[in-house]
């Protein structure tokens, strides 16, 4: 068996091809955080979906009283934070898969992150304003 690379028509080795891409130190971090946040969201989502359903048609006073309860406020804050983290990473992957212009990709990802951070903080402030 001869070396597969002996017949190369260029002198570039596989290592040479990947050089210039930068180190892959954080290569799995994004993927792993998606899994971690999805596991955290599993019980939180079931709790939120059933709670939201049981609040259907509830009055303003009932809803505010429900949000103000310590456990509900705590779980809402956690749900808000992890939901927007998970949403931002999921939408980022969709953009990375389909956007073929670098400026479009980078701009869309930054916009998504900005919107998610603002929406998460606004929601958290709303919960805190009711609960505290």
């Amino acid at each position: 068996m001869s070396n597969d690379y002996a017949n190369n028509t260029t002198m570039r080795s596989p290592l040479g091809r990947v050089r210039g891409l930068g180190s892959a130190k954080g290569g799995t971090h994004h993927w792993w955080m998606q899994r971690v946040s999805s596991m955290a969201l599993l019980p939180l989502t079931i709790w939120f979906a059933l709670s939201a359903a049981s609040l259907a048609g509830a009055s303003y006073e009932t809803t505010v009283a429900w949000i103000a309860r310590p456990w509900n406020a705590l779980l809402l804050l956690v749900t808000i934070g992890i939901s927007f983290q998970h949403t931002a990473s999921g939408l980022q992957v969709i953009i990375e898969d389909y956007a073929n212009q670098e400026w479009l990709k980078m701009g869309a990802i930054l916009a998504i992150k900005a919107i998610c951070v603002l929406a998460a903080l606004a929601s958290a402030l709303a919960v805190l304003r009711i609960a505290v």
Binding site: L21, Y60, T87, V127
Partner: protein
């Protein structure tokens, strides 16, 4: 092979069996597959329901901000959510949310190394579809009982 325009192209550079250089294709897009076999359909649906849920979060933000603002803002949310458009949107969102959740459990099992046999993927796919239907109906039963 033309000069590389993008560093990612380095990972697409390959060789034919005769040694001549070739540019490998990017990951295949939707239209490459038969989109209506269960494996690809559920995969595509997983992504679509995730994106739909992102839109659904806007409703949650609106609901929380309105509750913090006061009775009149809250009444506007209640009016929208109980309108036909609002109810239709919420029903779609609840189904999308349950699908994405149950399909996510399926993905976690795959990540842990289980369920890769083709008949297993079809079986778990059917469980996800049945589970989505059951969970969505249960959620709305709770909502209707709470509302009534």
């Amino acid at each position: 092979m033309p000069i590389m325009q993008d560093s990612r192209e380095a990972t697409m550079a390959g060789r034919r069996s005769d040694g001549s250089p070739v540019k490998r294709p990017l990951s295949p897009h939707l239209q490459v597959y038969d989109m209506f076999q269960m494996s690809s359909l559920l995969s595509i649906a997983g992504r679509i329901t995730g994106a739909a849920w992102a839109a659904g979060l806007v409703l949650m933000v609106w609901w929380l901000l309105a509750a913090a603002s006061g009775p009149s803002a809250f009444a506007t949310v209640q009016w929208f959510m109980s309108s036909w458009l609002g109810l239709l949107g919420l029903f779609g969102l609840s189904a999308a949310a349950w699908y994405h959740t149950l399909n996510g459990v399926r993905h976690l099992a795959w990540d842990a190394g289980y369920g890769y046999q083709i008949q297993d993927t079809y079986r778990t796919g059917r469980w996800v579809l049945i589970g989505t239907a059951v969970a969505t109906v249960l959620t709305w039963l709770i909502a209707i009982i709470a509302w009534a």
